[in-house]
């Protein structure tokens, strides 16, 4: 149960964080200038947007959940299971960013889920 909650945080909060950061980045606009000064300005600008803060908070939650689960589970179990974020990413992108997911991508995601299920059986 405890690890299910932690995996939920890793997958859902991690993906939610990436989606929020992605949304904030789209708000700031495309980067054309790669001089250090303008990149710094870009970073400062992005932190004025609430989406950025939400994204960083969610990604931190995901990172600390990863650390917590690594304290009692094998790395070769935790990291493959967290590949579920491909499924969460596709659903999130469809729901929140309005992206269309191709049939081939759904097939790939279904195969990832099958692999995660197989790895999950080996958790004992």
């Amino acid at each position: 149960m405890r690890e299910a909650v932690l995996f939920f945080f890793i997958v859902v909060a991690g993906t939610g964080g990436e989606l929020s950061v992605s949304r904030a980045m789209k708000g700031v606009g495309e980067v054309h200038d790669f001089r250090p000064k303008s990149i710094l300005r870009f970073v400062l600008q992005s932190f004025r947007l609430p989406w950025m803060w939400l994204g960083v908070a969610l990604m931190s939650l995901a990172f600390f959940s990863l650390l917590a689960i690594l304290s009692f589970r094998q790395v070769s179990f935790v990291v493959p299971v967290s590949a579920l974020s491909y499924a969460a990413g596709a659903f999130g992108a469809k729901l929140f960013l309005g992206e269309r997911i191709s049939r081939n991508r759904w097939i790939g995601i279904a195969i990832v889920c099958l692999g995660v299920t197989i790895v999950w059986w080996t958790r004992a």
Partner: protein
């Protein structure tokens, strides 16, 4: 004397003309081959820097996770979610060398990934990084001594295939395709 000089001049100019046309043909040939060679060397040069960087990113990212795992195993199992219990654990985590090593590896992975994406297509890089699921299994076996059952190898391989397929689809789907 003069006649022979004229003849010499004429043959010389004829020689020059044939020389000139020969030079033009040669130069066109040379230009064409250099163009071809430039194209080939450009592709090869891109591969020369893309493939090592992909290999580095496939190793660096999983290595970061392996170090995080090693660090957290030394901290001990986190079983409580109460703030008072988490504070001493947090101080252990922040002072663990392996955790910082892991974070440095993950940051390095992030930088390499960003660098790759400045010239390589995402749809080229993403399927290649699906191999990182195999390398995490190999590294956790080698570095941490984790025993990996055949069933887990099968699962990891299936995940690799799935991620590979996800990456092979079009990277931009939010706009209508131009060619149906």
């Amino acid at each position: 004397m003069t006649l022979s000089r004229v003849a010499v001049r004429r043959t010389a100019s004829a020689h020059e003309v044939s020389n000139l046309s020969g030079t033009i043909v040669l130069q066109v040939l040379l230009f064409w081959t250099t163009q071809q060679r430039n194209h080939v060397t450009r592709t090869r040069r891109l591969q020369l820097k893309t493939i090592p960087l992909i290999l580095i990113s496939i190793i660096l990212g999983p290595l970061g996770n392996v170090f995080l795992g090693k660090g957290m195993k030394s901290v001990g199992p986190v079983t409580s979610a109460r703030i008072l219990d988490l504070l001493p654990i947090a101080s252990c985590v922040l002072t663990s060398g392996y955790i910082w090593l892991g974070i440095v590896c993950l940051l390095g992975f992030f930088v390499v990934h960003m660098l790759l994406l400045t010239w390589a297509d995402y749809s080229y890089v993403q399927p290649a990084t699906s191999l990182s699921y195999l390398s995490i299994a190999i590294l956790s076996y080698l570095v941490l001594g984790e025993m990996i059952s055949p069933l887990r190898w099968l699962g990891v391989t299936v995940i690799c295939v799935g991620v590979l397929l996800v990456g092979r689809t079009s990277p931009s789907t939010s706009e209508a395709p131009e060619h149906a």
